[in-house]
């Protein structure tokens, strides 16, 4: 007789956190696909995560610390929090975000030389505390990383990458010179849950169209849910709960 042992609550939590060993992560991912009951349990927990953080925001704990008048020991404080940051980065390592392209010509990023070039540039675990975004352009047999102010042209093939230091909501969006937004990584106008770990390459590269003047990329991240509103980008940029990384590329000659 075959028996399926109930998955313990702690193991479920570690699955959601992406902390289980690779073999167990793979087993549970497969089970999530094939077992409706298990999938429903996972879905419920993921939805519950958002609700709990909304109902019990970090500010409540901050307030209690303030009321207690607690202050970190200067000797251990910084080292401790650096340990916290390191533990978060090391402990979590699975990326499970949903990708959705829209209004964009996409292509499979299966060009080996481009991938090798990007990997050589630093496919290591992040060490800092900030989210990072990279924009790459295919050039012949390889790829070059673009920075703010670099020049791009119609037809250039672009690949986006990102990394985050801890589990958070995230969204990758671009805005061209025609005022058109493209959602590169999002669920509609909502962010997706991002897991920390190595620099992650989006599964699709895309080719720039003939929009003039510029192509600007935004990576928005936050521990709170947020919504993208095309008509009010400034509000999102000014939202203190939402961090952003911006790379603006020039499109000269038009």
């Amino acid at each position: 007789m075959t028996t399926i042992r109930k998955i313990s609550d702690f193991k479920m939590e570690r699955y959601l956190l992406g902390e289980l060993p690779d073999v167990e992560m793979r087993e549970l991912r497969e089970r999530e696909v094939s077992d409706e009951i298990f999938a429903a349990r996972v879905k419920k927990m993921r939805e519950e995560n958002d609700r709990i953080l909304a109902e019990c925001p970090f500010e409540a704990v901050e307030a209690r610390l303030e009321m207690a008048g607690k202050s970190p020991s200067p000797a251990v404080g910084t080292a401790f929090w650096l340990k916290v940051a390191a533990a978060l980065v090391v402990a979590l390592g699975i990326f499970s975000a949903v990708f959705m392209g829209r209004d964009v010509v996409t292509m499979q990023s299966d060009d080996a030389s481009m991938e090798v070039a990007m990997a050589d540039a630093g496919d290591t675990r992040i060490k800092g505390l900030d989210a990072r975004m990279e924009v790459w352009k295919k050039t012949g047999d390889s790829a070059v990383q673009l920075v703010n102010g670099d020049e791009v042209r119609e037809g250039d093939e672009i690949q986006l990458r990102y990394s985050v230091p801890s589990r958070c909501y995230g969204m990758l969006v671009s805005l061209d010179g025609n005022g058109t937004f493209t959602m590169h990584m999002a669920e509609g106008k909502d962010p997706v849950m991002l897991e920390p770990g190595k620099m992650t390459t989006l599964p699709y590269a895309y080719r720039l169209d003939n929009a003039p003047r510029h192509e600007t990329f935004f990576l928005f991240t936050s521990h709170m849910r947020f919504t993208f509103d095309e008509s009010n980008l400034n509000a999102l940029l000014k939202n203190k709960e939402v961090s952003n990384v911006i790379i603006e590329l020039r499109k000269p000659g038009r």
Partner: protein, 168 residues
């Protein structure tokens, strides 16, 4: 908040943002009350903050899970002693109210690193094994003891609580 610099505040905020839902669910499963679980969840993070200089942070999830377990057991025991209603199973109630020599050490301040794996409360170990259904091996992994060490600790508790049998 008296966390002096932004990096520290951000790190604590990220720890909370990552693990608070897990801690809440743990507290809810042991306490059986939503409001109490939310309150306890905050207590767990405050406790972590208080003891930051003696923490073993190599496995944040285990640390937070065990801390939540121990604080919930204390809450259950306190409520029982005050004659308040406790919405817990008999097994959990028995474990919560059992004498635990490790608790005494903490109260007397004899353990410099109360959160370190070696000093994890026997009651916490019992909950992992008897209530959560973890095997001895899994329990040992959670608390950083050998299997024989876990078995020995459980037997000492067994002597105080009837109906507990160390399983495989």
């Amino acid at each position: 908040m008296k966390v002096d610099n932004q990096a520290e505040q951000k790190a604590f905020s990220e720890l909370y943002g990552t693990y608070a839902p897990m801690v809440y669910r743990r507290c809810l499963s042991l306490l059986g009350d939503d409001a109490e679980a939310k309150d306890m969840m905050q207590d767990v993070f405050l406790r972590i903050y208080d003891r930051k200089d003696s923490l073993d942070l190599s496995q944040p999830s285990s640390l937070l899970w065990n801390t939540a377990t121990r604080l919930c057991l204390n809450r259950i025991r306190d409520k029982k002693r005050r004659g308040l209603d406790v919405d817990s199973s008999d097994t959990l109630l028995n474990i919560a109210c059992a004498d635990d020599e490790m608790d005494g050490y903490e109260a007397r301040g004899l353990l410099a690193k109360i959160f370190s794996k070696e000093q994890e409360s026997t009651r916490t170990i019992a909950v992992l094994h008897y209530v959560d259904g973890m095997t001895l091996e899994e329990t040992a992994g959670m608390v950083g003891l050998s299997v024989s060490g876990v078995r020995k600790r459980l037997r000492t508790l067994q002597a105080r609580i009837k109906d507990l049998e160390v399983k495989r």
